[in-house]
Symmetry: C2
Subunit: 319 residues, 2 copies
């Protein structure tokens, strides 16, 4: 069960303040007209490492005791978490050991190495990743940092919603995407504390709807081979994040691939915000108008901006 | 000769405040490392209409007397100025008459119409544009608004540097791109007033170096059929902007097409800022390190973010 409280989020905000970007909140009148709500976009695509993940990683790294820190941090990840943890560790001057599958894209390997992460490659299976991580930790005693099943990670991710609400004032709804649930549970804890009457709603790709089904079922249903353009949302919920989501999230709404891509492109063209498909999922929810949010003040956490510029989703069909 | 003073810029800032976005200033450590300076990016790509042009257009429109405003505003333009003037006029509830060449891209026609501009098409020559504009103005008495040879436009564009300096504090250098010179002269007037010791440097594409040559020659040399990826910088200086530039700009530095594209792509990938090629020209200056700015605090006005997402510069060579 998650122990994370609003006090943890507030302490995280103080702790990570010197290291993170205080990202802007943007509005776009053509987007408002398009979706019929008053939308406030919290631009975590402009966060360091290009994603909110840096908040949680920073919070973990700077919360370590001196003795823990000396041993460094470790994780297995090929995505934004690996980059975020590597940069956070570099800023504290400690090692980050990253286990990555040997077939990870070259650009991701380069990014982790660029942030100073020490990479150990492994076979591309979950078993190999976990075994290799255990081996790395056995060698150097590094602190394992799970990308979301970690109270300090959840508290760190919650600082995005904290800033958002402090920047916008009253909101009727806070929307976030859900993958493993770190951002969503942090956002929910924060929103419940600051805006008790606001609704927290999560958006999930239809093609990776394990969190939606988990909430329906009342227990975690793992994500199995999901195929969605929102490649940041492929992971399954964890016990910590699921507990918060059950308690504090009103509902999870699924979004079609078409709506994700259409909303993403609209935001690139009209708001000039370079967001990744996962960040467009909550916008896709607004786009499809599956639930009525007309005229409401809706805060949206834009989770990140890490996209392959050679292969944009709207170009795939024509390629 | 331009009569624009810092007082005009300050009054413009007050006048347009309810209508514009107060755009963020972003920093990017990997960019700093790449270019060897401490760079502050003023994100006018996130301005309404996707460009700084909205500042000047708003200032003109809201400075009109009631009697002038009733008659509306008019310009010939197929670019950002037409969109900016259309939206500013709509916000004041007055007509904007836009003369556009009939062969303008459909997307630009749609954008102007979308902001409520009333379009009159003409043959694609400067003579036809000017004749048609004179005719439109003759019919309805609208106030002509030149895109940059206009004191209120220059004052409005100067508010971007005003915000930048108020957001960053001391700067050693302010960099802006130069096309017709509206943004550059406004930035120069503001910087000279607020930071008398700061250097104002302009960046211009090598392939459209008329402003550079004009400053060398001491008189305006018109831009003739320039070919550059920075399609917002094709115009020639005007008497008003040239006078300010001669007085307040330290130097104009030309930038290669390769550096413009490389810097643009870097900023998309690393800073997640969706900027247009014209906005990348000052970054290209830093990229090429033609002048020594090592370790200095450099403010850069990112002029806009209006790009064709189907045809990105780094994709052209592979297409």
């Amino acid at each position: 069960m998650s122990q994370t409280t609003i006090e943890d989020v507030l302490r995280a905000a103080v702790r990570i303040r010197p290291y993170i970007h205080h990202t802007p909140v943007m509005t776009c009148e053509s987007l408002n007209r398009q979706v019929g709500a008053q939308v406030f976009l919290k631009c975590e695509n402009l966060q360091k490492v290009g994603a909110f993940k840096f908040r949680g990683a920073c919070n973990v790294v700077f919360a370590l005791s001196g003795e823990q820190a000396q041993r460094g941090v470790a994780t297995h990840s090929s995505g934004n978490h690996a980059q975020a943890l590597s940069l956070a560790a570099r800023l504290r001057g400690i090692p980050a050991y990253i286990v990555m599958p040997e077939n990870a894209p070259a650009v991701k390997k380069a990014a982790v190495a660029g942030y100073g992460g020490q990479i150990t490659f492994c076979a591309p299976t979950l078993q190999a990743r976990e075994a290799t991580l255990a081996q790395v930790i056995g060698q150097n005693g590094a602190v394992e940092v799970h990308p979301y099943d970690n109270d300090q990670i959840i508290a760190g991710q919650g600082t995005a919603a904290l800033e958002l609400i402090q920047q916008t004032g009253e909101l009727d709804v806070v929307l976030a995407p859900v993958g493993g649930g770190g951002l969503l549970s942090g956002s929910a804890i924060t929103t419940r504390a600051l805006l008790p009457r606001a609704r927290v709603i999560a958006a999930e790709p239809e093609m990776a709807d394990d969190a939606y089904r988990s909430l329906q079922a009342g227990h975690i249903i793992p994500s199995v081979s999901p195929r969605t353009v929102a490649d940041g949302l492929l992971t399954s919920l964890s016990p910590r994040t699921f507990a918060v989501i059950q308690r504090d999230v009103e509902q999870i709404v699924t979004v079609s691939e078409e709506a994700i891509i259409a909303a993403m492109r609209f935001v690139w063209e009209r708001a000039k915000l370079l967001i990744e498909p996962s960040a467009a999922v909550p916008l896709g929810l607004l786009w499809e108008r599956k639930i009525r949010l007309d005229g409401l003040r809706v805060g949206v956490i834009l989770s990140g901006g890490n996209v392959d510029l050679e292969r944009l989703p709207w170009q795939r069909s024509t390629a």
